[in-house]
Symmetry: C2
Amino acid sequence: MARAATTSDAFNAIAEPQRRDILALLRSGERPVTDLAQELGMSQPGASKHLRVLREVGLVRVRGAGKQRLYGLDARGLRPIHEWVGGFEQFWNESFDRLDTYVQDLKQTRQEE
Amino acid sequence: MARAATTSDAFNAIAEPQRRDILALLRSGERPVTDLAQELGMSQPGASKHLRVLREVGLVRVRGAGKQRLYGLDARGLRPIHEWVGGFEQFWNESFDRLDTYVQDLKQTRQEE
DNA sequence: TTGACGTATTCCGATATGGGCATACGATGG
DNA sequence: CCATCGTATGCCCATATCGGAATACGTCAA
């Protein structure tokens, strides 16, 4: 098996930097593909493909506006992610303390890699 | 180019469900690989590989404890993610409203796919 | 209808993935 | 020093990825 299809969930969708850029851009409003592509310095087909992924996981919506298709943000799918990550909030402070223990340990453990 | 190396950043690291499970488990304290593997129903080599990725992006630390190696959480790397996603917080409420507009539009736009 | 524009899809290649299996490695205890 | 336990690596496979180029598609205007 390879990695789960990127199209499978929001976690995968936002793992790709360009897709994060797209989402960020869409916060300022709907946009056609060409716009996004140009603004982000990617090819039109490239942008289209990323948007397809975002559409399939529901982070983005399309709306036909005449000859154009306007892409808009649907951030609801980000909420579960925010919550999952938030479940670690208490730990990223505590981590500093643990680090001390760890560092002391290093002195005699000699970590590889 | 293929997908960016999963080992490149935390976003990629947590894109894989089993790795999320590992992180979640580690909240309750340090654990040796075998423990994790068994608890999560994966092979020892499998767990080792996932832990390697998590180590490389800094979400996990190792500490040699005699014959064993104890893996521990280092959640600091999750903070940037939390913040990035948090940047969309205002939108996942607003999204409902936008959806209305969208749905009305659908009636005459006939979206494919 | 035909053309033009905006966009999606297809096909390709190079690369990376995750899982299974066998095995190499490292540290400890005898 | 050697056997053993806990763990990491290497190798192989099937599959998925992203990017580029060419092209098919859909909608509108003349």
